[in-house]
């Protein structure tokens, strides 16, 4: 008697929009995205995309981000004059997708934080838990397999917020971070928008 085990993998797919300096477009189209690190307040290391979620138009949010991100506040001038938005189809196995926009994903991160806190308490230590660091820790230490993380955050997408350093606590964007762009995006990247940086923050 033969027993066949059938594993059903659920693939999650969504559209991602990445705003950037137009000068980066050729290298991204040719070599793919490279991950950035150090975004402790977002979703940890990875390549970031605006995706559909609590926001209706992630492409437009990527445009706004690319325009405002051009501003170099130290040198008080724009780092680039032409922005671009790239579209990618992001695909990921559900078992490697940490979705922090729903209760299931949050429960996982909360559970890891709880175990950290309890373990550290045994030696009288406490730390500031920060989302991005916790995700980096869980992923890099292989506590869980994460290739893509999605979450809701607040991002300043208008000049006034940035000039006056205003932040709301109500999130306005759904973003995702892709840690293995070659696995989850590949070469499936298209330039969907390009334009001049219209604003100067001075």
């Amino acid at each position: 008697m033969h027993v066949f085990l059938i594993f059903i993998y659920m693939i999650v797919k969504f559209d991602g929009f990445h705003g950037t300096d137009n000068d980066n477009v050729d290298s991204i189209l040719q070599d793919g995205f490279k991950i950035s690190s150090g975004d402790k307040d977002w979703l940890g290391d990875g390549c970031y995309f605006f995706v559909e979620g609590i926001n209706k138009n992630p492409c437009e949010q990527a445009v706004q981000w690319a325009i405002l991100n051009a501003w170099d506040k130290i040198n008080r001038k724009n780092k680039y004059v032409t922005y671009a938005v790239l579209h990618s189809n992001i695909t990921v196995d559900d078992s490697k997708f940490l979705d922090l926009t729903n209760a299931d994903g949050v429960e996982i991160l909360d559970y890891i934080q709880k175990l950290c806190r309890e373990k550290l308490a045994t030696i009288g230590k406490r730390i500031h838990f920060i989302d991005g660091y916790l995700i980096n820790f869980a992923r890099t230490e292989k506590i869980i397999d994460i290739e893509v993380t999605k979450g809701n955050v607040y991002i300043k997408l208008n000049i006034e917020d940035r000039i006056h350093n205003l932040s709301r606590r109500i999130n306005n964007c759904t973003i995702c971070s892709v840690y293995l762009p070659s696995n989850n995006i590949g070469k499936n990247i298209k330039l969907v928008k390009k334009g001049n940086v219209e604003y100067e923050i001075g």
């Binding site: 402790k40 890891i112 175990l115 730390i127 500031h128 660091y133 230490e141 606590r169």
Partner: protein, 101 residues
């Protein structure tokens, strides 16, 4: 991804294997978590617990805006734990700030 039994067991296993000290070092050195500086003074029984971080700093860290990195000037102070271990320092039991002297 759901916290089903398999995933829960996998997470539990990591925390069973790693020692508390190793975990602390991994979190603070490799992943840059900041330790909360707390002075817990034990004088026979628990006396007091003073949080040395300002509430302002805690607020800034929790709700700092996302796009522009803030640079905070940090004034380094002598670690309170060092003082606790120093038997020459006398603690006033009635003082809520035992290290003021």
């Amino acid at each position: 991804m759901k916290l089903d039994k398999d995933l829960k067991d996998r997470i539990d296993k990591y925390f069973e294997i790693v020692s508390a000290i190793d975990l602390y070092n991994i979190l603070t050195q490799k992943y840059k978590f900041k330790s909360i500086n707390e002075a817990t003074v034990t004088y026979g029984l628990y006396l007091s617990e003073e949080r040395t971080d300002s509430s302002f700093l805690c607020d800034v860290e929790s709700y700092t805006y996302l796009d522009i990195k803030q640079e905070l000037e940090v004034v380094k102070v002598k670690n309170v734990e060092d003082s606790v271990m120093n038997t020459h320092i006398m603690h006033d039991n009635e003082c809520s700030i035992p290290f003021a002297a």
